[in-house]
């Protein structure tokens, strides 16, 4: 597949960065002429993945979060990567309402939100190595 455009963003795992990270990706995706609703879906999915990298991957310690977004035709691929703790049981983690941090008032709905708002969500993770989330969405212009 031919890549039409690509961007990469790397930042320290600080919760202050959640807002600008989702805005940057939304601004990049805007060149595909999404509807306002589609754009806020992308924004929300990115917010979930970045938040997970910060609170679960790095457990609020220091580390870098990397976002790569690629435009291929009328689709976007968004990769959110951390080199944090990793996920032991990916299938369990993806279940609605599952959270390993209920004491932080987490809802356990992050993966469900990503899956609902994006066409496809892939999770790659290894304990002690890190987690990579790959999300795809296409925008059909009528």
């Amino acid at each position: 597949m031919k890549i039409d455009n690509e961007m990469k963003l790397e930042f320290l795992s600080r919760s202050q960065n959640e807002s600008f990270a989702r805005s940057v990706v939304a601004a990049f995706v805007a060149q595909l002429d999404p509807t306002i609703e589609e754009l806020s879906e992308v924004k929300t999915a990115v917010s979930e993945a970045v938040t997970n990298a910060i609170i679960h991957g790095y457990e609020c310690g220091n580390g870098n979060v990397v976002i790569i977004a690629r435009i291929i035709g009328d689709s976007v691929e968004i990769v959110v990567q951390d080199q944090g703790k990793g996920i032991d049981d990916i299938e369990a983690a993806r279940q609605p309402l599952y959270t390993s941090k209920p004491e932080l008032e987490r809802s356990g709905m992050g993966f469900t939100v990503m899956e609902t708002f994006m066409d496809q969500v892939e999770v790659e993770s290894q304990p002690g190595i890190g987690t990579t989330i790959r999300m795809y969405k296409s925008f059909k212009t009528e």
């Binding site: 807002s19 806020s40 929300t44 932080l104």
Partner: protein, 114 residues
């Protein structure tokens, strides 16, 4: 992050301003909990007019306050909910737990009826 408070009798109306995400939810939670502890309101209405964005971190915050208020036999509601916030609430099944009304008047009327 700012939360403004207003009372109608024993009902606390909390007007949240700005995005509700993991970054802002700590401050919102603290401000809400201080107010609830200090004034002990019976019911709680979230005014979401100034919230343009919320993710699943926000769901955790709303549910946490719901548990406090409902645990004391109080009612909880949301008003002036914007489309993005509404969708995230629907996905998470929140509208079954926290009813959404158009405005303050409607919410207060419904709280009284229960």
């Amino acid at each position: 992050m700012n939360v403004a408070f207003e009372y109608v009798n024993k009902t606390l109306i909390a007007r949240i301003e700005g995005d509700i995400d993991h970054h802002s939810c700590d401050a919102i939670r603290k401000r809400m909990d201080n107010e609830i502890l200090e004034k002990n309101p019976r019911n709680l209405i979230f005014d979401m007019d100034m919230v343009g964005f919320m993710d699943s971190s926000g769901i955790g915050v709303l549910l946490g306050r719901y548990k406090q208020i409902a645990g004391q036999g109080g009612k909880i509601a949301m008003i002036k909910v914007k489309p993005q916030v509404k969708r995230i609430c629907e996905i998470c099944g929140l509208q079954k737990i926290i009813p959404v009304y158009q405005d303050k008047r409607q919410a207060i009327e419904n709280i009284k009826e229960c």
